[in-house]
Amino acid sequence: MDKIKLATIWLGGCSGCHMSFLDLDEWLFDLAAQVDLVFSPIADIKTYPEGVDICLVEGSIANEDNLELVRQARARTKVLISFGDCAVTANVPAMRNPLGSAKPVLERCYLELGDVQTQIPHEPGIVPPLLDRVRPVHELVPVDAYLPGCPPPADRIRTFLEMALRGEPLHLKGREMLKFG
């Protein structure tokens, strides 16, 4: 049987969920024996491939690149998993939302709080434009399962991935497995 194709993507988040994933230490060897990592910020692969079995999505949808990548991942993946609070609730990145839209956020950061040569970055094709609102993943593409936590501790990621690899239903219960923050 072919190995399970696993991908992980990193959108608007601090990469803490990926750090927590790497905290799985030697269990990563066991995982590597069961999966092929076909796309990830920790692997040098340029395009999201077709036919991915499981994808962990870290981060909220904060800019146009995030939106494009998550749409691509959704179209090419069987089981898409919101990985961590930013993906599930939009979390800290969404703390800019009450300001209304991208414009006041950029003005505040780059003009009001800038020291020298204040200007709003504008590099089409290089710097992705911010979306007006930071949104959780499932508000923009359908999501199959949720793994909250900021970040989810390594043990919880392991238990969850083991459930996913066995093809079990991915509904978490209890404080050990299901806690925001």
Binding site: T89, P98, R135, H171, L172, L178, K179, G181
Partner: protein, 238 residues
């Protein structure tokens, strides 16, 4: 004293007339989830976590503000109730700005506990991301309106136990907010005795002690319990 007999989850219960379904259930050893209920102060039925099903009625009724009646047949854990309870918790999360990762109450929050209890792994309702502020004008305490769920526990404890009535509810619908004094900064409200009862009463990270950082909130609800017992039973030693 007249007695009412009824059934809760198939268990026969006999309680004094006038007892709430919530209290009757407690006597029978059945726990009904609550957020706005606080032992020792009046009930207002604000959060709707305690909804129960009563045979013969197609309405779900809040156990904290519904009195028992003779022959009632009550269910507290049906799939329908569990589904509505989860929806209620999801709505509370999407209504305000709950960022547990940077909240003073992270790990010590009744709303967070409730999310775990009802098995909420995400909310199906779109987040509102309202623009709300924070008041730290009080020398010891602060209120972060982003975390307030309008349970009014602060208001009732300040009014009914401390007797200061600093808190009130202003506006309605999406604009609703807790205010201090006549919508003054909390620090300017002379009626506040700085007793800290509202801090102990708040179920979330909305009212906090200044200087506590993320996940540092510790509540000492036993202070409130002590005061309530003292008042009701005239037992003044701790």
């Amino acid at each position: 004293m007249s007695v009412r007999t009824l059934r809760i989850n198939g268990i026969d219960v006999a309680v004094e007339s006038g007892t709430s379904i919530l209290a009757a259930a407690k006597q029978a050893g059945i726990t009904i989830p609550t957020l706005c209920h606080l032992d020792g102060v009046s009930d207002v039925g604000a959060c709707r976590l305690c909804l129960v099903e009563i045979q013969g009625s197609n309405k779900l009724l809040p156990a904290c503000v519904t009195e028992v009646a003779e022959g009632m047949d009550i269910q507290t854990e049906t799939p329908k109730l569990q589904e509505y309870r989860r929806m209620t918790v999801e709505l509370l999360f999407s209504e305000g700005n709950h960022v547990c990762a940077v909240c003073v109450a992270n790990g010590n929050c009744e709303l967070q506990d409730m999310a775990i209890a009802v098995g909420m792994d995400h909310t199906r309702f779109p987040y509102r991301f309202p623009d709300r502020d924070l008041d730290v004008s009080h020398p010891q305490f602060g209120i972060d309106h982003n975390r307030c769920i309008f349970c009014t526990r602060c208001m009732r404890v300040c009014d009914e136990i401390e007797g200061a009535h600093v808190w009130d509810v202003a506006q309605r619908g999406a604009a609703v907010r807790m205010i201090t004094g006549l919508n003054q900064p909390w620090g300017e409200v002379e009626a506040c005795t700085s007793c800290g009862k509202c801090v102990e009463a708040c179920p979330t990270g909305a009212i906090f002690r200044q200087g506590s950082t993320v996940a540092e909130m510790q509540r000492d609800r036993s202070t409130l319990e002590f005061l309530v017992t003292a008042r009701e039973k005239k037992e003044w030693t701790r």
